[in-house]
């Protein structure tokens, strides 16, 4: 009983710890004047919003969203069969595959991007959406595969078998059984894949060829103009928070 009573209090503490930095960010974004050592801003205003949205931010937001969504969609298509094969232990020696999956995660994305630059220039892919998507896939694909892998295994195969013997064709089984049953895992994979692509700085900088991407636009302001940096960071966070809410809702549906 005592531990149950403690749960809400712990939840409040955890929520506060998580929310405080966000609150500080909101204050910073709308603080037109905030001189030290004052605890609160002297003057609130929208200078940060005007500056942040005055340049390439709109285009960067669209570019980043477009690349992240395409990357996740393609990663899902590739990772799905890979995760099924690995999850159902159909490979006799999966070790090399796991090593290959881990390699892009061990190498910084800027190094990956730099390594790809020369080839992408030769192929005319630098600064293009397909080029950026291909570069982002090198880091997103392992994450998506590994997350899907956690939900693809004997339990999913078992409910799929159940669907088959109850008369569901493979396509109807996919829509009525597999996807709903694996929804929490798919949601988590989509969220993580989107966030990895959305926040990728290295590959976007190396292969962007001047094309505005949100992390690349944000970074110069971090040292120079904290108010604009805070405003851009809030914009940066918006899709992540939306994706998180959607994923948590999906995650409430157990297999």
């Amino acid at each position: 009983m005592r531990s149950r009573a403690r749960r809400p209090a712990l939840a409040v503490v955890a929520a506060t710890v998580l929310a405080l930095p966000l609150l500080a960010l909101v204050l910073r974004a709308f603080a037109d004047e905030w001189r030290a050592p004052a605890l609160l801003p002297q003057r609130l205003g929208l200078r940060g919003v005007r500056v942040a949205f005055g340049g390439e931010t709109g285009a960067a937001f669209v570019n980043s969203a477009q690349v992240a969504l395409l990357t996740v969609a393609i990663a899902l298509v590739i990772a799905w069969p890979a995760a099924r094969v690995l999850g159902e232990r159909r490979l006799r020696r999966p070790g090399p595959v796991f090593l290959l999956l881990a390699m892009p995660l061990l190498i910084p994305s800027y190094a990956v991007g730099t390594g790809l630059t020369e080839w992408f220039i030769r192929l005319g892919l630098d600064g293009t959406t397909p080029g950026l998507v291909a570069a982002h896939l090198t880091t997103v694909l392992p994450y998506v595969t590994l997350v899907l892998l956690s939900g693809f295994g004997p339990r999913l195969s078992a409910v799929e078998e159940m669907g088959s013997v109850l008369g569901l064709s493979p396509v109807r089984r996919l829509w009525l059984v597999t996807i709903p049953a694996a929804a929490p895992t798919i949601g988590a994979a989509v969220l993580l894949g989107f966030l990895v692509s959305w926040s990728d700085y290295g590959a976007s900088l190396a292969l962007g060829a001047g094309r505005p991407m949100l992390p690349v636009v944000l970074l110069p302001f971090v040292g120079g103009d904290p108010q604009v940096a805070a405003t851009l960071t809030l914009l940066f966070l918006a899709p992540a928070v939306a994706a998180l809410v959607l994923t948590v809702r999906a995650g409430r549906r157990p297999l």
Binding site: A158, V159, V165, L166, G167, P170, R172, R253
Partner: protein, 324 residues
């Protein structure tokens, strides 16, 4: 369509390309009857069920259902429903929608499928749970829901894999009666897998014993208990007294052995173990063990000398090895 029931011929199945689990197996189940498939763990019972359902590819052999070869059809076209040992219900659907799933597969409209599903749910005694999610329901309730879902598929053949396995003893009786009732009402050809010989006798119109990937005897329940075709069958069905008789063995069940003062054989009790409704007495009879089940109030004690009678009408002559 003729009602020939199930006919499996020369089935060989080697899951994952390993050594065969089923080896030239043959099984016939009369239309409208219940066959209990029994055997020790690893005998291949579940593999056989999966092969019939199309979930395990055949290396050789054929499966005919009501005269139609189904072994090349995908699982969803075989008109077979399976109730697995674990109910495999979908957690994101309400109980009623789980039961209605086969009708959704068939493209039946929402109102009609809910009506049909509700009637099947009522048949298994769970209409009160229609709108509940499956989380938090008991093992017995989940198994009944899985049975209702299988009935909703309106199959030609019902396969049940250890349907009582996860239930406590008190709920087994109710589930057993339910399975028998719904099968009898529909005259639905049914195969029930179990590893428990008593359960097999209660559930099956016939029992097929599987040993090492083959059906070694398929007959009415009493025959397997009292007229086993081999020493292995006799042992599995509890006829644990196997006495040499020339080139064969004489089998007799422990409950048919009579301990009496003027018995035709003499023996000394080496063990007497109380087992609730009987005492298991092991007597040494000229160097051979003879096991008898006797009523607790008549049981001799360890060390006592007893007379042993093996009634001729209860003795059954069996070859020492299985016929292959």
């Amino acid at each position: 369509m003729s009602r020939d029931g199930l006919r499996c011929s020369d089935l060989t199945v080697a899951p994952g390309g390993t050594s065969p689990v089923l080896r030239g197996l043959a099984l016939e189940v009369t239309a409208g009857s219940r066959a209990a498939l029994v055997g020790p763990s690893g005998a291949g019972k579940t593999t056989l069920l999966r092969a019939i359902a199309g979930l395990e590819p055949l290396t050789e052999g054929s499966v005919l259902l009501d005269g139609v070869a189904i072994d090349r059809l995908p699982p969803h076209r075989r008109k077979i429903a399976v109730v697995f040992q674990e109910p495999r219900l979908l957690g994101h659907l309400a109980v009623l929608d789980n039961v209605a799933l086969p009708l959704r597969a068939a493209g039946v409209g929402r109102r009609e499928r809910r009506r049909v599903a509700a009637s099947h749910l009522e048949e298994v005694g769970l209409s009160g749970l229609a709108q509940r999610r499956v989380q938090g329901l008991s093992g017995g309730e989940l198994q009944r829901i899985a049975l209702a879902r299988a009935l909703t598929a309106d199959p030609l053949l019902l396969l049940l894999d250890e349907p009582l396995g996860a239930l406590d003893p008190n709920r087994r009786g109710a589930m057993r009666r339910l399975i028998c009732d719904v099968q009898r009402d529909r005259r639905l050809t049914t195969v029930i897998v179990t590893h428990d010989r008593g359960e097999a006798a209660e559930l099956g119109d016939s029992i097929a014993l599987m040993l090492e990937g083959r059906i070694v005897q398929h007959d009415e329940p009493r025959a397997l208990f009292e007229r086993p075709v081999s020493a292995a069958v006799a042992r599995f069905f509890g006829a644990t007294n196997l006495l040499p008789d020339g080139d064969a063995m004489l089998a007799i069940r422990p409950e048919h052995v009579i301990l009496e003062e003027d018995g035709e054989l003499r023996g000394r009790v080496v063990e007497a173990v109380y087992a609730g409704d009987h005492v298991r007495v092991v007597a040494d009879c000229e160097g051979r063990s003879v096991i008898a089940h006797v009523a607790p109030h008549h049981a001799p004690r360890a060390g006592e000398e007893v007379g042993i009678t093996l009634p001729d009408e209860r003795l059954w002559r069996v070859p020492p090895r299985d016929r292959r």
